[in-house]
Point group: C2
DNA sequence: ACTGAACAGGACCAATTAAGTCCGCTATCC
DNA sequence: GGATAGCGGACTTAATTGGTCCTGTTCAGT
């Protein structure tokens, strides 16, 4: 699996915050309950995202988390990288000296290409493309 | 990591067999030693590839493994799939009922796209593209 | 100032998967 | 029939992921 459960949780939490970013801070407890994510675990994920500046956390009563970026300004690639770290496609186990490949390592080339393609797809979407709930701003009559 | 160490071992073993497929069966011991792969572990991998018909195994003295396909006829995608199983990019952890996504699941779409792109890259290479050693048939004067 | 709501962060534990080993069995060549 | 080589199942170990717990610290409201 390329993307972990952590990414799934984190991404959904960001969608939740994105949907409610007009309404002030949302508590960890609320997000965890609504999205059915283990609270303590989600706490770690949001802490991590807070350090990276994706969300802002406010302590004390009436505190919680708010999205710190414009949903349309952060790509899926950025989000997943910030949660899971860079997508590693293949790691060469051989050391320089015992790599028996002929000439330039074609493997590196191939897997570099794979990484690029993955990145390209993920960079094509932003948080604004994802919603957990219908947007209040969207005309319901259009259904 | 998308691709496991098992894939690395298996792929390199296939390159080895590809390079020497004119010279008859190669023993597990030879491959393991040359490529510095734990023998018992490589055995499992080659067994697996034998079941899939990628290599053929011959028991008894003067036995060993031979490549059972034309190197140019098997893609990197096929090889990696046969060793590691299909590349799973993302697994939705929510059940149908608790998936809170709005409308059609955009996630599925995105990650399907990612899988397609990975497949496209890997399908563009065959075993014939990879070599552990210089090909004898290739003019050395060209260097 | 005190209280209680809320996040922070380190240490810890559990579950899963990946990686690797062991050993008796079977086929094959000479 | 003995030596050689792969087969295959059970097992162990190591690494990673997923998750918990507990003790802070910050801060709004009184």
């Amino acid at each position: 699996m390329i993307f972990s459960r952590k990414s799934d949780y984190g991404l959904r939490a960001l969608m939740y915050l994105s949907d409610r970013r007009a309404k002030g801070p949302v508590t960890l407890t609320e997000i965890a309950e609504r999205l059915m994510i283990p609270k303590a675990f989600l706490s770690k994920i949001l802490q991590q995202l807070a350090k990276k500046g994706v969300v802002r956390s406010l302590k004390g009563p009436s505190g919680g988390f708010v999205l710190a970026v414009e949903p349309a300004e952060i790509t899926l690639q950025e989000i997943l990288t910030e949660i899971d770290g860079p997508t590693r496609v293949f790691e060469c186990f051989a050391t320089e000296s015992d790599c028996t490949l002929y000439g330039d390592c074609l493997m590196r080339e191939v897997f570099g290409e794979v990484e690029d393609q993955i990145g390209k797809v993920l960079a094509g979407y932003t948080l604004a493309d994802f919603h957990l709930t219908p947007r209040a701003s969207e005309s319901p009559a259009k259904a």
